[in-house]
């Protein structure tokens, strides 16, 4: 029988099965990479280049032997061709090298471009006839700034209480309503982006951004166990931080939006918001610096230049590293080495600068470069120093030496017009501390510096937004520095203003013996709220107006009396207040008592700028209240001026609306009350009637059952008449 089968078999066509089970032979070039972008050299330098390349590879953790490198040679010119083949031990090593060495900067002029050997072959054999790609139908995205088109011009705010997030409109009493009730689950907290476009929630898996009128998810960033986030000022990038180092498990999804094995151990990540791509990760632990590891981390750890072009990171005592965006490479391929540097800040862009920047695309007028300021403490014989540096040119614009310095704090005015360096200085004996304010005027030639000397310790400093005034909280309370429970520190609050005539900052007024420890300027300037925050016994809010006498539009220089315009508008109290925040328009103030700090009377209140309470909500487990920020106005300067000039006309229509609203509200309220009273009265009279019937009924019953018939019967039984005889 076996013979028979053999002979039959020959006739059967096995080709289909063979095709099915054909072994896919390895083409054998999986472990070969083509590295392009090498310098073109002649023979004399060949050995050195080979050595340099192997070193470069081994730096990134890949061992490449010299004999594994093959460099094709142009014999006619006697030079290399500028690329090479590298053979690795196996496929995995090659893949790793591809990921790490691609776009690796070899030196200032040359950058590696790495490809798989097989790919090159594949691409050369590519079919070159053009095939029209299918164009996906365009679906318009929702307008992310739709909320600005609100006909009533209301602002929004988000509240987070228990597990519930609410996004509300805030306007006139009748216009305060719920904007959206999301069903976001299991997150740490919410945060608005700086221009209000997105709201971010921090989940276990990472960050989610929501936005648009329907609050759809807009973007997500997979950073597990994220704890802190920071948006760049123009909302292009996002920085995330987690206390847990990044771990990339085997088989994790790879792609531009996910961490790769290289990122393991880092805990800061920078993301592109539009694409969702991961740009780079950093570690907060500085290598070989164990002492700083214990110190409290500064947040934001990465500081953005105001135009989103650069992001800078400080390694305390050593360097400031400035990275360019979006590539995230070191600007100029090197960091700023500054011995002993402690802190730095970018100079913010003023409205003027922004205008010039947008205008400069047309004209060639030079615009102000980015600036940053940093300070270094006293070391040996060298004095402490504050340095103003322009970037990216890296020229030092101004330096100032300071003596007996314990601590410096850098405060920019939000338009970048002034810089205040608050210097805590100690006396020779180092026993007591006093304070100097070194104020740099940034818009003048050579950046003149002026010093305000103070005897007391300054606890808080704050510039008036868009203004030339600042407020400080100072204290000479002996309890300062040893905070005990129940101790409220006595403070003084002082206002200073630039005197245009003399060109220096002069004291406007000091408010003495207060407990205020927080200054909150209205974002439009002029109004300021002084608050006592974080105290268990005091919780005052004071609403001040700094231009009470003058017409707000034309604030004149050198007005009648210095400091006479300061006026207290109102005082209020919000028990246990932890956060104080102005709305973006500077008309309302929100105060909240968050359950994260304490659990007494949690909730929030909204006040107008005069200190009148508009609403107060006491809610258990209340956590967060944040106003939605607004982007800068789109109206041109001229248009704004025109509106201001014709304010009366506009305000008339608003006044009418307000009047109508008021009468409407009161009418509605009276109607509601009338209805409630009617309902109550109806129910009461019904019960009263029943009761009356009941009582009547019962008394009748009682009457019947207990009827005692008492009859007095006088019966004359006998009547006798006796006549007494004498």
């Amino acid at each position: 029988m076996p013979e028979a089968t053999d002979s039959v078999d020959l006739t059967i066509d096995y080709s289909d099965i063979e095709a099915k089970y054909q072994i896919q032979y390895d083409d054998g070039f999986d472990n070969v990479l083509v590295v392009d972008g090498l310098p073109i050299i002649d023979e004399s330098k060949l050995e050195r280049l080979r050595a340099k390349i192997t070193k470069e590879f081994s730096k990134k953790g890949m061992s490449v032997k010299q004999e594994d490198i093959y460099m094709p040679w142009d014999n006619t010119a006697g030079k290399s061709k500028g690329f090479m083949f590298v053979e690795f031990k196996n496929y995995e090593d090659a893949e790793l090298a591809l990921a790490t060495m691609h776009n690796h900067p070899f030196d200032t002029k040359h950058t590696f471009k790495v490809n798989r050997f097989a790919d090159i072959e594949r691409y050369t054999e590519l079919d070159e006839t053009y095939v029209e790609p299918d164009i996906e139908e365009f679906t318009p995205r929702e307008h992310l700034r739709a909320w600005l088109a609100d006909p009533q011009g209301r602002d929004q705010y988000v509240t987070y209480r228990g597990d519930e997030v609410l996004i509300n409109w805030h306007g006139k009493p009748s216009q305060c309503e719920l904007a959206y009730k999301p069903d976001w689950k299991d997150f740490l907290y919410v945060a608005w982006s700086p221009l209000g476009t997105f709201v971010a929630t921090l989940h276990r898996q990472g960050v989610r951004l929501w936005g648009g009128p329907s609050w759809k998810p807009q973007q997500r960033f997979a950073h597990p166990l994220v704890k802190l986030i920071d948006f760049s000022p123009c909302e292009q990038y996002l920085v995330t931080w987690s206390n847990e180092p990044i771990v990339v498990p085997d088989g994790a999804i790879q792609g531009p939006q996910y961490f790769s094995p290289d990122d393991e151990g880092n805990n800061i990540a920078v993301w592109d918001i539009k694409s969702g791509d991961l740009l780079r990760t950093f570690s907060t632990q500085n290598e070989g610096d164990s002492s700083s590891g214990k110190k409290q981390m500064q947040w934001p750890a990465l500081k953005w230049s105001p135009d989103d072009k650069y992001v800078a990171r400080i390694i305390p005592g050593q360097t400031i590293s400035v990275h360019e965006l979006p590539s995230m490479y070191l600007q100029g391929k090197k960091s700023l080495k500054i011995d002993g540097v402690v802190d730095f800040e970018w100079c913010p862009l003023g409205d003027k600068d922004k205008e010039e920047a947008s205008a400069s695309t047309k004209s060639t007028k030079k615009i102000r470069e980015n600036m940053l300021v940093y300070w270094t403490p006293e070391v040996l014989n060298q004095p402490a120093r504050v340095t103003l540096l322009s970037f990216p040119s890296r020229t030092i614009l101004r330096q100032k030496n300071l003596f007996n310095v314990t601590e410096c704090k850098l405060y920019w005015q939000n338009q970048g017009d002034f810089l205040c360096v608050k210097v805590d200085r100690h006396t020779k004996t180092k026993k007591s501390i006093f304070c100097n304010l070194e104020i740099f005027r940034m818009r003048e030639k050579d950046f003149p510096v002026e010093v305000v000397e103070l005897k007391d310790t300054v606890m808080d400093f704050s510039w008036e937004p868009k203004g030339e005034r600042f407020a400080i909280v100072s204290s000479n309370d002996p309890n300062l520095g040893n905070p005990g429970s129940g101790v409220t520190i006595k403070t003084d609050v002082s206002f200073y203003q630039l005197d245009r005539g003399k060109n220096d900052f002069r004291l406007l007024r000091t408010l003495t013996s207060r407990t205020s420890n927080a200054i909150r300027w209205s974002p439009r300037g002029r109004h300021v709220v002084l608050a006592t925050v974080g105290s268990s016994s005091k919780s005052e809010l004071e609403f001040w107006d700094l231009d009470f006498n003058s017409d707000d539009v034309h604030r004149k220089e050198g007005q009648t009396d210095w400091g006479s315009g300061i006026q207290l508008l109102g005082a209020a109290d919000h028990y246990g207040v932890t956060d104080v925040e102005w709305d973006p328009s500077g008309r309302y103030l929100a105060t909240s008592a968050s359950a994260w700090t304490h659990t007494l009377e949690n909730g929030y209140a909204i006040w107008d700028f005069r200190g009148q309470e508009l609403t107060k909500q006491i809610q258990d487990r209340f956590k967060q209240f944040i106003w939605r920020p607004r982007p800068p106005t789109l109206l041109s300067k001229e248009k704004q001026k025109q509106i201001r000039r014709n304010l009366k006309e506009y305000s008339r229509t608003f006044d009418e609306e307000d009047a109508a609203e008021e009468s409407n509200v009161s009418a509605e309220l009276t109607a509601l009350r009338r209805r409630l009273v009617d309902e109550w009265n109806a129910w009461r009279s019904l019960r009263k009637k029943e009761l009356g019937e009941d009582r009547l009924h019962r008394s009748e019953e009682n009457h019947e059952s207990l009827e005692e018939i008492e009859v007095w019967i006088d019966e004359v039984i006998e009547q006798t008449e006796e006549v007494l005889a004498n």
């Binding site: 028990y575 009350r673 009338r674 409630l676 109550w680 009265n681 009461r684 019960r687 029943e690």
Partner: protein, 333 residues
């Protein structure tokens, strides 16, 4: 007017009650005594001594002849108001938490605590008004409410029907004869019902609860008519006659009071508008939680007793009677 401070107790107050004329105020406390005061000047008239434990509850009959008290020494006592003599003592296996007399003072209902293997029990006794020292030892009716234990109770206008408030927040109507639950509202409150007081004509009642709310119920069908939501656990609620207000009192739990200041403790009597459910005012004074509130039957004054051991009697000023809040609306009492 300045409040009158009654300093006759050494420990926290448990209940205070005006008599039907309102000239006397009875107060009982954890220091085992019951005091009676002249409500108009705060002078103490006398003391009812004999209880051997916290006096949890007190009630006085409409004729101001007899007083009943329930205490932690497992007794319910009948006193003669005028002489302070203890006329009769009923004994139980557990403490008496609440006692209430009916409309004409012929019956008393009491709740005994669920403890030591004994269930929470509700008993009704007839009061022999003619020979007060001779009372029947056995209750007229007795039953054990099933489910959550009862904390407060009162007679209703319907004979043999009582209204109860429970630990679970339930408010129910019981027929004492059969022990049958006639009607209930399981979701009246979400935490312990701490007080239950009847309106002047007994057709509705107000309950307070640890769930920070007080509610007005129709005693006929247990419908919730009004709700007053505050931000603190409530211990007592009372209805002010003739004016459309209810008075609520409470504060932080007694156990956590030592860690909070008076400002945080919310130890104020709150006045709420009865119909609009809006808070209209607060009266400060106690430095501990308010345990009990009572309003004078004519609505001319009120008293509050606190964890701090004081009773504060406030006589209302003229403005209280004249103020026309929310405009000229006539509200039936």
């Amino acid at each position: 007017m300045r409040p009158i401070l009654l300093q006759g107790h050494e420990r926290s107050l448990t209940q205070i009650k005006f008599n039907s004329e309102g000239d006397l105020l009875f107060s009982c406390s954890k220091d085992n005594v019951i005091n009676v005061w002249f409500s108009h000047n705060g002078e103490r008239l006398g003391t009812y001594e004999g209880n051997n434990g916290t006096v949890w509850t007190v009630d006085v009959d409409p004729q101001t002849v007899f007083l009943v008290s329930g205490a932690a020494d497992n007794t319910l006592r009948l006193w003669e108001v005028a002489t302070g003599k203890c006329l009769y003592t009923w004994e139980f296996p557990t403490a008496v938490k609440r006692a209430a007399l009916n409309e004409n003072g012929t019956q008393v209902v009491c709740i005994t605590e669920q403890r030591m293997g004994h269930q929470c029990a509700i008993r009704v006794f007839d009061i022999n008004r003619d020979e007060p020292t001779k009372q029947s030892k056995e209750p007229r009716y007795m039953f054990n409410p099933i489910g959550s234990k009862a904390t407060v109770c009162a007679f209703t206008l319907t004979p043999n029907v009582i209204i109860t408030g429970h630990e679970s927040g339930k408010v129910a109507l019981f027929n004492v004869k059969s022990g049958e639950e006639i009607d209930n509202n399981e979701r009246a409150h979400s935490d312990v019902v701490t007080d239950l007081q009847m309106s002047k004509d007994w057709t509705y009642c107000i309950t307070s609860s640890k769930d920070k709310a007080a509610r007005i119920h129709d005693t006929k069908n247990l419908m919730v008519i009004k709700t007053y939501t505050t931000e603190t656990p409530l211990n007592s609620a009372s209805i002010a006659p003739n004016r459309p207000f209810v008075l609520l009192g409470g504060g932080q739990e007694a156990m956590s009071v030592t860690t909070t200041s008076a400002r945080q403790g919310k130890f104020e009597t709150r006045f709420w508008h009865k119909v609009f459910e809006e808070e209209v005012g607060r009266v400060k004074g106690h430095f501990g939680p308010i345990n009990t509130i009572a309003v004078h039957p004519n609505g001319t004054s009120y008293a509050s007793g606190g964890e701090d051991g004081f009773v504060r009697v406030h006589h209302f000023d003229d403005s209280y009677f004249k103020a026309k809040l929310y405009g000229d609306l006539e509200i039936i009492d």
